[in-house]
Each structure stands twice: as structure tokens, then as C-alpha cells.
Symmetry: C2
Subunit: 485 residues, 2 copies
């Protein structure tokens, strides 16, 4: 196995030496071709994904749209070219006491990237998902360790990428797919000297293990593990008084979306005790009771969901508000529970993510306790504030607290359904991710796979096009401190 993985990494590195110099326009052609090839797989891809995940085919039509949209958006980004953050400071030969050299910098790709896909997004965050798309866009070859939970889907997508490589006459080792469900493969790939970075989406245990493997290397490398979170929601009084039915409906949908198997699932909801909060809780329970139970992704996730539920629901002071009755194998019951702020603060077990259609309402005695509970929670991908204008005016200080909690603050919306945009931050302090300085969704995900490099007094003809004085690519640059195109 080691010999085979060695060969794969050597092939990836050789491919990197070529691929790092491929133009943005050509990379766009390649990324668009991948999207075309994925679409050309037709319904068989959607059906395979559905069979392997127990999620409906319709869901994969949406996920395919997201996947191909992402691929093409990264293609557009690199064809436009400004993403390399070119900065030019021209020479001042007569500066005193010393001449100022000509300094030009931009980012360049770092090398072969190992991607561990997510079980819950077999298309959008797996084989040709956000990590792969952003790494290929940056100029890094990718080695995907196929997820054992959806091997056939992964192979189909992998074949689409290989078709695209062939059509674009690119080195076939720019993308390689490794099968097998041994954890050892992940460790060897992460610790291989030719691996330059790792993208991981999954559990805290898995993500931290990969991170630790990387840090044990002689040469440390960046590891971007996105490991989910509880995505706390603050429910303020005035909005509960006025909009409880709509909010209950929206959050019932958010809690059960994808059978609760989203990393932005709202797992903890905080409010101050009041009849409005009680009323909202009843409405949310009612909405959940109208939601059928669906099957989870696999036996292991289903087992963990029930084990986590048992742990939380039988904890002292935790009251089950609603518990659906799942009858079929692998089905997950939507569950709503409630606990006092005081009990919650005393019991760190309640602070962990329960991966599935579950949420815990934390009833705080007063605003002081609500702030204390909120601040006690660890790093989060998102935090949501539900409040009318009056609520927000009265709780202005909550915004400043939100800054230090999560990567994204949602106002009067649901945290699930992450928009892929220029402004997306899908990241957050540990344990949400291992590196809160980057996002794994949205256009800036490409920044994870590059490093800056500076050319000092480089002859014009040897500069990369992004840094040539006449700006042949017409990209946006910072020249002598001024932003210009």
C-alpha cells in the first residue's frame, strides 16, 4: 500500500510542476469541463448518490447544481485573475540612504493537496466538491481519498474529472482518486513529504486526528478540517412575541433539513424565560411533529445520533419536549429538548454537537445568563440572532459578543443553506475548524492552497504575466499603494 501511495504522490508532484504554470483561462476550461462531465453523467449519478446516502434524488439535483456552480465560479475567478493579490512597489533608485528595489508579489499554488470528502455532501463537499474545486483552481493537483460511505458516487465523479483532464489535454495525475476505507491511508497521505496541504470535512475526532498527523511531520503543512458545530441561535423577546409561528416553521425546517445532517444545523437555541419562549417552544414541537422521520446516511451516523440523544436526554435537568417515533431501520427521530441555563452551564456534555435532527432550547434566567451561556460555547461555524429592530436596539452589545463566537453571524434567518459567494465565511474557531483564518465555502476557499512570493528586481521578461508592468491580464493590483486595474 505504501508503495502505491508513494507513486501516487510522486505523480502528483510531477503534475504540480506543470500544472502550477497553467494559465487561468486554461484552468477555467478544465473546471467548466468537469462541470459539463458531471452533468453528462445524468440521472445515474443522482440515483447512485441517493442509493448510497438514503437521501432523496431531488436533493441531489440541487446538490449537483451547487457542485457544478462552484466549479464554474472558481473557473471564472481564476480566468479573471485578480485573485492572486498582485502587489507591486516599483524601484526608487535614488532613495537615500539606500536605493529602493523593485518588489512584486503574488500568490502561487503550494503543491499536491489531499482531500477527504464529507459523507453528508457526496457531491458538493466531496470528490469534486469545494475543496477539490478550489485547489484545482489555485493550480494544485488533488488526491481524493474516496469516502467509504459513497464509493460508487465518488468513482463516478472521479471518472468525470478524468474525462475532463483528457478533453483538456492536461496531465492525468492532476487529479487522482484513492479508494479504500482504511484510516491508515489517510494517515500516510497526510504525512507524505510531497503532500502540501489537506482539506477535510467530517467529525471532530477525524478532523483532529488528521490535523495531529500533519503537525507530527518534519515539515508541518496546513490542514483545513471543517468539523461542524452547534450553531447557537439567540431568540429575543419582541420577535418571539410577534413572529413565533413563522420562526418555528423556519427552524423546524432548518433542524430537520437533510435529516439534520448539516454542519450548520441549529443544535442549540438560547432565550430568556418568558411565556413567549414557552409558546415558541410549543410551536416548534408542533412543527417537528409534522415532519416525517427519514433515514440517516449510514449505520454509524445513525448509531451515534441515538447514542448522543440518550446521553443528552437522560441527563439531569434535561426535559424532552418532543420525540418522534422512528420505526424503520436507520430512521432518525426529530427531537426537541429543553434545559435551564443554570443546568446547561454546569454540564459541558450538553455543549457538544448532536449530529442529526435535534435541537436543545436553553432557557436562561436573564440576559446576563444568556450572555454567559453564549460565551461559554466553543468555536462555531455560525451564530444566529433572531430579533426585531427593537430587540436589536436593546441588545446592541450582543453583536460584539457574536464577533468572537463564530465565522458567520446570521440575522433573522436560518444557519443552514450556506450561500456560495465572494463574502462567504464557512469557518470558525476550533472545534468548528482547525484554522479559523480561512473559509472552506465560497470564493475565498482558494486562499487555502496558496502562499505569497516576492520577485525582487526581476527583469521584466521573466516576470509572470500577473506582475508585468503593462498588466497584460488586466487584473486588479495594488501598485505603489494604490488599487488599480
Amino acid at each position: 500500500m505504501i508503495n502505491e501511495l508513494n507513486k501516487i504522490m510522486e505523480q502528483a508532484y510531477d503534475a504540480f510542476l506543470e500544472y502550477q504554470l497553467v494559465s487561468g483561462a486554461d484552468k477555467k476550461g478544465f473546471l467548466y469541463a468537469i462541470a459539463d462531465e458531471i452533468e453528462a453523467l445524468g440521472d445515474s449519478l443522482l440515483e447512485t448518490a441517493s442509493e448510497e446516502t438514503n437521501l432523496p434524488v431531488a436533493r441531489f439535483a440541487g446538490e449537483r447544481m451547487r457542485t457544478c456552480g462552484q466549479l464554474r465560479a472558481f473557473g471564472d475567478l481564476v480566468a479573471e485573475g485578480s485573485w492572486v493579490e498582485a502587489v507591486i512597489d516599483t524601484a526608487i533608485p535614488d532613495r537615500k540612504p539606500l536605493p529602493k528595489p523593485d518588489m512584486r508579489k503574488m500568490t502561487i499554488p503550494i503543491g499536491p493537496i489531499v482531500v477527504f470528502g464529507a459523507s453528508n455532501f457526496p457531491l458538493a463537499y466531496s470528490t469534486a466538491g469545494g475543496d477539490t474545486a478550489s485547489a484545482l483552481a489555485s493550480g494544485c493537483p488533488v488526491i481524493v481519498k474516496g469516502h467509504p460511505s459513497h464509493p460508487r458516487t465518488s468513482k463516478l465523479v472521479s471518472s468525470a474529472i478524468h474525462n475532463a483532464l483528457e478533453k483538456c489535454r492536461l496531465n492525468k495525475n492532476i487529479f487522482q482518486h484513492v479508494e479504500g476505507d482504511s484510516f491508515e491511508i489517510g494517515k500516510i497521505l497526510t504525512q507524505h513529504p510531497l503532500t502540501a496541504g489537506v482539506g477535510f470535512t467530517g467529525s471532530l475526532n477525524g478532523g483532529r486526528a488528521i490535523y495531529n498527523y500533519a503537525q507530527q511531520r518534519e515539515v508541518p503543512i496546513p490542514v483545513f478540517s471543517e468539523m461542524g458545530s452547534t450553531n447557537p441561535v439567540i431568540l429575543l423577546k419582541d420577535t418571539l412575541n410577534n413572529n413565533a409561528p413563522e420562526i418555528a416553521k423556519a427552524f423546524s425546517g432548518s433542524i430537520t433539513m437533510g435529516v439534520g445532517q448539516f454542519c450548520t444545523n441549529p443544535g442549540i437555541m438560547l432565550g430568556i424565560k418568558s411565556s413567549a419562549l414557552n409558546h415558541f417552544t410549543s410551536l416548534l414541537a408542533l412543527e417537528l411533529s409534522l415532519t416525517p422521520s427519514y433515514k440517516m446516511l449510514n449505520g454509524s451516523i445513525h448509531h451515534n445520533y441515538n447514542a448522543s440523544l440518550d446521553k443528552v436526554l437522560y441527563d439531569k435537568g434535561v426535559e424532552t419536549v418532543y420525540h418522534a417515533h422512528a420505526t424503520e431501520e436507520l430512521q432518525a427521530s426529530p427531537v426537541l429538548a429543553r434545559v435551564s441555563g443554570t443546568t446547561f452551564l454546569l454540564n459541558p456534555d450538553l455543549h457538544h454537537e448532536v449530529f442529526g435532527p435535534f435541537s436543545l432550547i436553553v432557557v436562561c434566567d436573564n440576559k446576563k445568563q444568556l450572555v454567559e451561556v453564549w460565551q461559554t460555547l466553543k468555536g462555531q461555524l455560525t451564530t444566529t440572532i433572531m430579533g426585531s429592530n427593537q430587540d436589536l436596539e436593546e441588545h446592541h452589545d450582543l453583536i460584539n459578543i457574536a464577533r468572537n463566537i463564530a465565522g458567520r453571524i446570521v440575522f433573522n434567518g436560518i444557519p443552514t443553506g450556506v450561500e456560495v459567494s465572494n463574502a462567504t465565511v464557512h469557518g470558525g474557531q476550533y472545534p468548528a475548524t482547525t484554522d479559523s483564518r480561512f473559509t472552506s465555502v465560497g470564493m475565498d476557499a482558494i486562499k487555502r492552497w496558496v502562499r505569497p512570493i516576492c520577485w525582487q528586481d526581476c527583469p521584466e521578461q521573466l516576470l509572470p504575466p500577473e506582475l508585468k508592468s503593462d498588466n497584460p491580464l488586466g487584473i486588479f493590483r495594488k501598485v505603489n499603494g494604490q488599487y488599480q486595474r
Copy 2:
């Protein structure tokens, strides 16, 4: 000791909650005030630094200028404000199948930063040096662990920063200075739960130890250890034929600058065997012989220099070309040695940095071997190519190799004397630094202390000024994909 350090970190965190919201204009006032206060220390600062480092007073006039220039440049950067990388994607409420939310992001400071200053730059890369200046500019409080090699200088600078805090009526715990030469202090500070990041400049052993401490934390934090490198120089034939005397003079100066105690010191020079390379070697030896021996920073560095020299010079196949005779205590002899490419490739001991006025000329059999030697070298802060236009035309492929070796590629210049500019990259692959994606010198050093955060559908009045729709700060932003002010 632990109680005291706990208190320091708690004070730093409390200061962070205030300081993170201080405006760019006010931070500029503070950074300028630090520069003013450092200048107000007058000659006593320069004399103290000279006494503690064995370097001449004149050197510290220059280093003070760099230090104060950096502080003011970071002040200007944050007062202008565009550095936060604001990105706005406005809502599309009628988008199908789902409405597009309003997403706005920018970077925010991460929290208290622990800085370990450099022994070789007691002003510019120590107490109020690049790490401190960039962290304070970003909105992070700083805890400096004073370098035991220049305690009085560090205390003087620390007092200047405290005077500036008082003048600007800022929380005095935005900057704290910890004395003591125990390594344990560094470990406790790095592993403290309230520490958000670490800046270190020094040896590979020290920098890696700090990095490892940080990775053992429950919550990993970014560590930027800048640990020096050998800064390989490629000497091409045509330029040696035409410019050997000038090049020898420039590199003799570069090798002995600051008694060779610069992290960008050219410790390895590569060429292909020729009479031109022989002639250059003789000229360089002659230039070095005209340079007096000076005292090194401290006994430990002096001891390590001599021990490293002994190891290299008595290695099989290494020829001493020039060895000055140092007579006084702590004096370092400038030394030039020579080895064949074949021997160099077989002996990894020769690849390590020798911290002091030393360089090793590696004489390669041919271009193939030169490329092999160059590629074998580990991560570097810089790599330099000396070549005429004709040389560079004939060796076009060398530029692409240089990209994968170092953070900065210098053409026909010396690597020492790092320009502080917008385009500076003072970084590079391990072991030059622990994180090649960032620079520790230049304006982008501020990016080490921030993380992005996204506001989704945030009411206008609650947005930070950088993200408000009417752009009250007039900063540069990317709005719906377009760069604009």
C-alpha cells in the same frame, strides 16, 4: 509564576474586548505615539542596545529609523482602512429557487498575541518590532516576552509603549512586557487558553519548540516562527565573467553585515565549475580579508558559530578558502569555504544554516547538478539569481525552480537588507518559517493576526463602518464582484 502569567493573559483578554473595536484612526494615533516615544528615548536607547549586543551605535540609528518607520506605516495602513479586505455581496430577494441573502465580510483581530523578539534586531524585530507593530495595528493586544540577550533595551522600549498608551488614554494592558529568561515562561504563554497567536523570531530549535507547544493545545493557534535560512545564491557564468569584482564586493558586505547575524545572510553560493567561478572565489576571499572581525551578539551565539564552523570545515571534501583570525573574546572570523556539488549532495550536514559571517561555495559539475543541489535545499526565506540578460535567457527554467524554493527571489542583488513594503514577503517554506503563507516583514504582516467573519442579512445600523452600504470610511471593497472605493 503561573498565577502571574494567568493574570497577565486575563488582563490582555479584557483589553482585547475593548481594543478590537478601536478605530483605525485611533490606532494610527497610538502607533505614531509609540514611534515618537521611542525617538524621545534619544541616544540612551542606541547606547544601551549597543552595549547589550556588541553592535555599533550607528547601526541602531538605522534600526530605530526602521522600527519607527514600520510603526508609522502600520498606522497609515489601518487609518486608510482597506486592509480589512471588505467584501459585500448584496441580497437578491427574488432569486430562484431560493432568495440570495445579503453577505458582508471583513477581517477582525483574533485576540492576545505573544511575541518572542529576536536577539539580532533588538529594535526592529523585538519589543516594538514588526510582530508587535502589526499585531497592535490589527487590533490585538500584545504580550512581549523580553529577550534575555537585551533586557535593558527591551525595558526601555516597553516604557515607551506604555507612555504612548497613557498619552492615547488606551487600556494599559494592550501591551504587557514579561521579563525572565526561563523557557518555561514561553511555554506557559504559548499554551495559555487566552493566547490567540504567537510571533517568534530566532533559531530553528526555539521556533519549532514553540510551534509544537501550540499544536499540543486543545485549541490550536497560529504560530509564526521565523527561523532563518541559508539563502542560496546562484552565480551564472556570463555575469561572473563581466562583473566578478562588483559581485564579490557586494557579497562580502552581505556575508559580514551585522557580523553575519542576519536571517537573510547568503550562506550558500552555487555555481558551475569554471575559471570565472574560481576567479570570483578568490576575489570574494580577498574582500573578506579586508573586513575586520567584530564581536557577536552573545556568548551562546559565538559558541554556536564556532561549533558549526568546526563541523563544516573539518567535514570530508570541504576546503577552507579564507579564514580570518579573530583574537578578541566574542569576535567572529569571517570564513569562506568551498565544496564540490557531489560532496554537498551526499552530506546533509552542509545544508544547515551557519549563523555568522560564513558562506559555502558549492562548485557543481554542470547545470544538471546545480539544479539538483538547489532543489535539495530545504525551505528558504530568499534565493538569489546572479545573471546577465544572456545568462537568464539561457537559464529560463531556473526561475520556475526558484518559485518552489523560497519566499523571495532576488535578481542581481544581495538578500540582506529586507525592504519594508507592500510587496515584501519575508517568509518561506519550513524550516525558514512554520507558516509559508504569511510574511513577518512588510505591510501584509498584519494578516497574521486576523480572521474573516461574515455578517448575513445584518441590519444596516449594526454593521461595522467598513461594511456599511454608504462606505463611510471610503475604503476599497469588492462589491458584487467589482473592486471599488
